[in-house]
Each structure stands twice: as structure tokens, then as C-alpha cells.
């Protein structure tokens, strides 16, 4: 009755831990990066997943994260060497277009806004930078946001609005919006009791899921001005409240979470080597008290810590993960 995760492919090639994987918007390509300072691009040839390209020489230290632009033509890579490289594949081959400098130390994540005109990066220097992409493919710093009090681990843009979310070693999540001429922090989500490693929006962007070293997953809901619940929204700025906490399923830090826009399923990856999948159930008050059920708990999905998990944006039930064991895996959810 419950679905299971079936290992569809194991992609080997990285020679060190793999930190991050990212699907291209069409879902045809998967980028991965890690401690071996390379980016690998994987794609299908017939039924087989193969390594299509290896991007090297752009970074001198670990590449912590990769992210595709919404048009699928650019790839940003964040590195511990304090820079972010941007790659273009307009010519057919991947070429390094720009190296963004400015952060004082390890860049942890990079993410593109839905319009493709903005790129956000975050670092151990506690700041979040917003870069504007000009018409001639140049990157200009539009804002430096220093509202977190610690290491910023992850950034993610809203699926349809220019609203940015970040999470940190300071145990909080922050949201940012453009106000008059500059960017400002417009919401603070407090509730986790340790580092928040990752977050994702749901399909519509009215909810956020967060994953933490406290081994819990939390779901937060946006309350807009004039909401029927009567929750105050000072200065007419939407307020986010935690509406659900999922705990007891992972034994070690949860490093990654992905909310599938196609199925509504949530996948999590943890330092306990397991992957979990949650499914939303009908509830009396779905808005303020949603119910999520654990439908898959795949122990030993990798031989070591799992650092990242991501749903394919186009093929429902297809999931990718990567680990300290050096492998990237592709999974398929199967109904028994």
C-alpha cells in the first residue's frame, strides 16, 4: 500500500564527497558538485544516465552548491574559495561567463529568481548578496543583506515572486523583498532549535518547508494582510507562522529538503544516511493545521551522510540525491 523508493541509477565519477545536485528546469540534466572542485553534468543517453561534461578549473576549493537559471542556459556554482562562478551553455558547451567576488569567505549557496534577472548568494560571512543580471550578461551587486547573526547556509527564491528566503546557523529563516530602492528583511521565522540547513517553497509559494540540524522539518504558512484568521500583519507585510512540525523520523541533522511542485510530496535527506518522503493528507483545517504522513523512510539510501535531495521538476516521482560517499543516485517512487 505504501510507496517505496527504487534505485534507478547510481552515477559515479566524483572523487570526493558530493555536496549538491540540481535539476535543469526541463528536468533533462542534473548538475552535481563537491569536494573534488568539479561540476558534473549528467543526462540520459537512451535509458542510461551518463556524465555529459565535467567543468573544472573555476574554483580552488570545494564547490558547495550549483543552481540552474530558470531558462536553463546558466548555471551558478558557489565555492568555499569565496567566489561564485556563472556558466553559460549558449554556445553549446559550458563556458565560465563570470566569477562573482565580494564575499569574505566560503560561499554556501546560490539561487536564481523566477525571472532570471536576479541571483542571490550567501556565505559564512553572515551576508546574503543579491546580484542583478544586466542585459549584456554582467552581474552587479544590488544589495548586501547582513541581517543574519551567523553563517548563512542556504538561499531560495519564491517560485513566482521576487521574494527571497535564507536560512542560517543562527537557527532562523529570513525573507527579503525589494522596498522602494533597496532590499530589506521582511520576515523572521523562528522555531528551530539548531542550524537550519535547507528550505523550499511549495508550488504556489504560500508555504515554506525548512529542514534543520535539530532533526525536525517545519512547515510555515504565509498570512497576508486581512487574513481570515485575524493574524496581525504590521506595516501590511505578510506574516509567516509555523503550522506543522515533523519529527522523530531522522536521527541526525537534516541537510536538505525538496517540495515537489507536481505531486506535493516532500523529500528530506539526512546525516543518518536515510531519505524520507512525506505526503499531505486531507485535514479539517488544511490551512492552519495541515497533516503530513511519512510514506517512505529509506534507510541506508547512501553509505554515508546524504547532503542534498531534489525532485525532478518534470517527471513526477523521480528524485535525485547525493552523499559523502561520492555517489549521486536517481530514485523512482513506486507504488507497491
Amino acid at each position: 500500500m505504501y510507496p517505496t523508493l527504487k534505485e534507478h541509477a547510481q552515477l559515479t565519477g566524483h572523487t570526493d564527497q558530493v555536496w549538491c545536485i540540481s535539476w535543469s528546469p526541463s528536468g533533462a540534466l542534473l548538475a552535481s558538485c563537491g569536494g573534488d572542485k568539479t561540476i558534473r553534468i549528467w543526462g540520459k543517453e537512451g535509458e542510461l544516465w551518463v556524465c555529459k561534461s565535467v567543468l573544472t578549473d573555476a574554483h580552488t576549493r570545494t564547490i558547495r552548491a550549483v543552481s540552474w537559471s530558470p531558462c536553463g542556459q546558466y548555471l551558478a556554482a558557489a565555492s568555499f574559495d569565496a567566489t561564485t562562478s556563472v556558466w553559460s551553455r549558449k554556445s553549446g558547451e559550458f563556458e565560465c561567463l563570470a566569477t562573482l567576488e565580494g564575499h569574505e569567505n566560503e560561499v554556501k549557496c546560490a539561487g536564481w529568481a523566477c525571472t532570471g534577472n536576479l541571483l542571490a548568494t550567501c556565505a559564512r560571512d553572515k551576508s546574503v548578496w543579491i546580484w542583478e543580471v544586466t542585459a549584456d550578461e554582467e552581474f552587479e551587486c544590488a544589495s548586501v543583506l547582513s541581517t543574519h547573526t551567523q553563517d548563512v547556509k542556504y538561499v531560495k527564491w519564491h517560485p513566482t515572486r521576487e521574494l527571497l528566503a535564507s536560512c542560517s546557523y543562527d537557527d532562523t529563516v529570513r525573507l527579503y523583498r525589494e522596498a522602494s530602492d533597496d532590499w530589506e528583511s521582511c520576515a523572521l521565522l523562528k522555531g528551530h532549535t539548531s542550524t537550519v540547513w535547507s528550505l523550499d517553497f511549495d508550488k504556489d509559494g504560500h508555504r515554506i518547508v525548512t529542514a534543520s540540524a535539530d532533526a525536525t522539518v517545519k512547515i510555515w504558512r504565509e498570512h497576508e494582510p486581512g487574513n481570515p484568521e485575524g493574524i496581525a500583519t504590521p506595516d501590511h507585510i505578510p506574516v509567516w507562522k509555523c503550522v506543522c512540525t515533523l519529527s522523530g523520523h531522522h536521527e541526525r541533522p537534516i541537510y536538505s529538503v525538496s517540495w515537489c511542485p507536481l505531486s506535493g510530496r516532500i523529500a528530506t535527506a539526512s546525516g543518518d544516511d536515510s531519505l524520507c518522503v512525506y505526503q499531505e493528507l486531507p485535514a479539517e483545517d488544511e490551512k492552519n493545521a495541515p497533516k503530513f504522513e511519512l510514506t517512505v523512510r529509506h534507510r541506508g539510501a547512501h553509505a554515508e551522510d546524504i547532503n542534498c535531495v531534489a525532485w525532478n521538476p518534470n517527471e513526477e516521482g523521480l528524485l535525485a540525491s547525493c552523499s559523502d560517499d561520492g555517489a549521486v543516485k536517481i530514485w523512482q517512487i513506486e507504488k507497491e
Binding site: 576549493r61 570545494t62 568555499f80 542550524t195
Partner: protein, 144 residues
């Protein structure tokens, strides 16, 4: 009897190249040098055998250490050295947790959080200067 002890099997395997019988779980880290003293962590009572818990079946190693003084500025480096030594010596299936023993350091919570953050540990080990310090702690001192 000792040979059947899971700790022996675990650490004995690692040191199988030596004929010496190393049955104490502390042997792996007891020889780590203190960055500020000409003594090992064991000699300084920073790490004692009773503060090490190994669960071979659950793939976990838990180490508590006691900094020499409650404001010891080297606590993070000592913890990092213990962690690195274990990561280098143990099979990769093991989950390693290194913590300051409760109530023995004024920045206990902050240091413990840092030691538990795999990303910070990974980044620290790419820092040549820091790596050199760690390697100094882990190197064998010339003995008389």
C-alpha cells in the same frame, strides 16, 4: 575475553599492522598532542577512556573531552583534532560526535555546535594553516 569486545574488534582492526595489543578504545586519540603543552591529551586528562562510547552495531563513536581550563582557547582545535583523527582512522560508516564534557568550558555550547557542523569542519580542513595545526596535534612527538 578481550578479543570479543566490540571495541577491540573495531580498533584492533585498525592497528592490525602492529603486534601490539591495543584493546583500549582511547588508544586512537589518547596520543593526540595538546597544542599548548608538551603532553598528550591523555596525560592531561583531556580525554579519558570513560568518556568514549563506541557502538559498533549502530556505527557510532561519541567522544567527550575536558579542556584543561574552562576558558581554554584551544578547545575548538582540540575537538577538531579528535574529530579529524577519528575521521581518518575509522571506517567511513561511523558517525562521529565530539563534544566538550558538560560544564567544563565557558563556551561549551558554541564550540559543540561548531564541531558538529560538517560544513564548517570541511571548510576548516581546506584551510592550510589550520590543517597544519591539526596535523601538529596529531603528529607523533619524538620520544626519548
Amino acid at each position: 575475553m578481550l578479543r570479543k569486545h566490540p571495541v577491540y574488534e573495531l580498533f584492533g582492526a585498525i592497528f592490525s599492522d602492529k603486534n601490539k595489543i591495543l584493546v583500549k578504545s582511547a588508544d586512537l586519540i589518547r596520543v593526540i598532542n595538546d597544542p599548548e603543552h608538551p603532553l598528550t591529551l591523555e596525560e592531561l586528562n583531556v580525554v579519558t577512556e570513560s568518556n568514549i562510547k563506541v557502538d559498533d552495531e549502530k556505527n557510532s563513536v561519541y567522544v567527550e573531552f575536558i579542556p584543561t581550563i574552562p576558558h581554554c582557547s584551544m578547545a575548538t582545535l582540540i575537538g577538531l583534532s579528535i574529530r579529524v583523527k577519528l575521521l581518518r582512522s575509522l571506517p567511513s560508516r561511523f558517525k562521529v560526535d565530539v563534544k566538550i564534557a558538560a560544564g567544563t568550558h565557558e563556551s561549551e555550547v558554541a564550540v559543540n555546535k561548531q564541531l558538529a557542523d560538517k560544513e564548517r569542519v570541511a571548510a576548516a580542513l581546506e584551510n592550510t594553516h589550520l590543517l597544519e595545526l591539526v596535523n601538529q596535534c596529531l603528529s607523533k612527538r619524538a620520544t626519548g
